[in-house]
């Protein structure tokens, strides 16, 4: 894997150029352009806030509903848009893959980075919301970059695996929205972690996004430090997923041009 990573580093300029291209293409094709990155989690937040504050009461531990949801929806949107765009990144660029050599992982990774740019833009709105609700921020905020990094590792791993599988089984990209929905319910986005009974908590936390979302909330909304068990579990599993996915990707890469 080390040689692969070194080769990827040699191609970093192509990666950056491709991220730029991805963003330009995404936005030239969509009506609202960059605004979409902000509107999508925002609108979901509004809906959830209304439903769960008026009709079904979900205990948020005193945190205002909008930020409760937005703080979780934002990282989730990053994950979900990365996977949704990334899963068909290889197949969509088959004319390139079959004609020119470059490390193929550049395509799915570029998808993730492009979605990351969206994430950063939408975070600015979030900062505005934080100021509006006067949410205090503690020292633990320094762990935020670490959380983001772990999430990037996890996301890249999943997108690598999904995009490679999509080359062999084209209907994977139909499975993706369903899978993401299910996963979202298994992650403490709409409800707080405290809603999960203690005896299932261990199993539940095997979901790396669960640990991450919980940590995001603790750090951002409650000025607390993340739960070390949850965080370490999330980090370890993310790293494992990445390693397995990358290996799988590089093994199947040799046949992409033959099959696409």
């Amino acid at each position: 894997m080390l040689t692969d990573l070194r080769e990827l580093l040699a191609y970093r300029e192509l990666l950056i150029t491709w991220v730029g291209r991805d963003l330009k293409v995404r936005y030239k094709q969509s009506l609202m352009g960059a605004a979409w990155a902000i509107l999508q989690p925002l609108s979901a937040t509004i809906i959830f806030a209304i439903i769960f504050s008026r009709f079904v009461r979900v205990p948020t531990g005193g945190i205002p509903y909008p930020i409760f949801y937005y703080s979780a929806l934002l990282p989730w949107a990053f994950l979900s848009s990365s996977i949704t765009f990334g899963v068909s990144s290889l197949v969509n660029n088959m004319n390139l893959v079959t004609k020119i050599y470059f490390p193929r992982e550049i395509l799915p990774i570029a998808s993730v980075l492009a979605s990351f740019v969206d994430f950063l833009i939408a975070s600015l709105i979030f900062v505005g919301m934080m100021l509006f609700y006067r949410v205090p921020v503690g020292l633990s905020i320094v762990t935020l970059p670490v959380l983001v990094l772990i999430q990037i590792v996890l996301t890249v791993g999943i997108v690598l695996a999904a995009s490679a599988m999509n080359v062999y089984y084209r209907d994977i990209r139909f499975v993706v929205p369903v899978g993401l929905q299910l996963w979202m319910y298994l992650t403490p986005i709409i409800y707080p972690v405290t809603l999960v009974p203690e005896r299932f908590r261990g199993l539940y936390m095997l979901n790396p996004m669960a640990g991450l979302i919980d940590s995001y909330r603790r750090v951002i909304l409650k000025a607390q430090w993340p739960n070390p068990f949850y965080l370490v579990t999330a980090a370890a599993i993310s790293l494992l997923i990445f390693a397995v996915a990358y290996t799988y990707f590089k093994r199947s890469e040799a046949l992409f041009a033959d099959i696409i």
Partner: protein
């Protein structure tokens, strides 16, 4: 120390893999797990079977052969797009392939944006692109259109841009695949000049082409590939000879596109070979507009045939462009059983413009009857290159321009239209 080394390379394509759906994958995996056979043998296509060759530094190697011989597969293996099934491949230095121009071009991005993208894909760093961007735009001659989305480009502009970028990559090894078949003659000259510059700079090249002159002019050595194996290798001229004599009219049961031979046991009179020649009587399948061209239909009669009608139809993807038969020339002959002959069509001036064409030939009982003794659709194919920019036209009409005084011009004034 050779720059390129191919040693006993085999390449197999497994036709049944990929493009599957999950719905099929799960039972298939379960079957494999349980040790049951899949029932059907997996289809394998051997694109290359034990190919070995080397290219020294500064050498240009030509690869020729009929379609499907494996030429493009060799280039794909050299550019690492795919991996060999067995055998060794070694390449020293940076490889650049003119296999598909405009790789990575996105229609919504402008020409300039696509230059950066394409160049990055071909391995240039951003700084290198900045240094060359003006030269690239000059080479492509697209100064006015460079900031327009590429989806508005004509196919010619697209190709010029793609080639301009590729021409500015500085590789050690250059792979060229039929790329010189596109574009008008002025552009082709530019491309050939650039390729010659590569040679003079001591770079190594592999050129795949159907064009005899190009291979002859550019290559030091050549190899002839057929069905995945090297059939002949050596001096360019000799290899080209072999290619044209063995394959130019051959594969009749297949034809260039492999179809539409009348599969009937007895053909009272049968076509044995179809050959295309140029004005000098040399076998050729690439011509220039308004050149002469000769079509030979070799045949053998198995019984006595009276006044059969031979036909030849020149076609492109739009349909038949020109059709002719021996009946039109009152060419009547009776052939005895066992007699052989050649029906020859001489086209004095090929008034076609750039494109790819095929010819359907056949022998009918007589001019009005639909009954055909033998026929081969797409018996031969050829390409035409125009000497000039054709501006979207379809044919060439021999003509010339002059200026005249009003008094000299024809006095039949009622046929003249005046601009209103």
């Amino acid at each position: 120390m050779p720059v390129i080394r191919f040693e006993n390379v085999h390449k197999a394509y497994y036709l049944d893999r990929g493009r599957g759906s999950l719905r099929d994958a799960i039972p298939a995996a379960a079957r494999r797990l349980l040790g049951r056979r899949n029932g059907r043998e997996e289809r394998v296509l051997w694109a290359l079977k034990g190919v070995s060759f080397t290219v020294e530094k500064g050498e240009t190697l030509g690869i020729v052969g009929p379609n499907g011989a494996g030429k493009t597969t060799i280039l794909k293996l050299l550019s690492r797009v795919t991996r060999p099934t067995s055998g060794e491949i070694e390449v020293q230095g940076r490889v650049s392939a003119l296999i598909e121009l405009g790789a990575g071009f996105h229609p919504d991005l402008t020409g300039r944006e696509n230059i950066y993208l394409n160049a990055a894909i071909l391995g240039l760093s951003r700084r290198e692109v900045e240094e060359r961007i003006e030269s690239i735009i000059d080479f492509a001659e697209l100064w006015d259109f460079i900031d327009v989305p590429v989806k508005r480009y004509s196919s010619g502009m697209y190709v010029r841009l793609g080639f301009a970028v590729a021409a500015h990559v500085d590789p050690d090894v250059l792979l060229v695949d039929e790329v010189l078949a596109v574009g008008d003659y002025m552009f082709k000259d530019k491309c050939i000049r650039r390729i010659n510059e590569f040679r003079d700079a001591g770079k190594s090249m592999i050129i795949v082409s159907h064009n005899k002159e190009q291979i002859q002019k550019l290559c030091d050595r050549a190899i002839l590939l057929h069905r995945g194996q090297i059939v002949y290798a050596g001096d360019t001229g000799e290899v080209l000879e072999r290619y044209y004599t063995e394959f130019a009219g051959q594969d009749l049961r297949q034809g260039p596109n492999g179809r539409h031979r009348r599969e009937q046991g007895d053909r009272p009179i049968e076509i044995t070979k179809v050959v295309l020649l140029d004005g000098e009587g040399e076998p050729r399948n690439a011509f220039v507009t308004a050149e002469p061209m000769t079509l030979q239909i070799h045949f053998r009669a198995h019984e006595r045939i009276e006044n059969p009608v031979f036909y030849a139809r020149v076609r492109n993807e739009r349909g038949t462009l020109h059709g002719t038969t021996t009946a039109r020339f009152d060419l009547n002959r009776t052939f005895e059983a066992g007699e052989e002959g050649v029906a020859v069509v001489h086209y004095e001036s090929l008034n076609l413009l750039t494109g790819h064409y095929t010819i359907n030939v056949g022998i009918k009982r007589d001019h009005f009857s639909p009954f055909t003794f033998d026929r081969i659709d797409d018996a031969v194919s050829f390409s035409v290159g125009a000497r000039f920019d054709q501006g979207g036209a379809l044919v060439y009409l021999p003509h010339r321009w002059t200026f005249q005084e009003p008094e000299q011009a024809t006095p039949n004034a009622q046929h003249v239209t005046h601009p209103t």
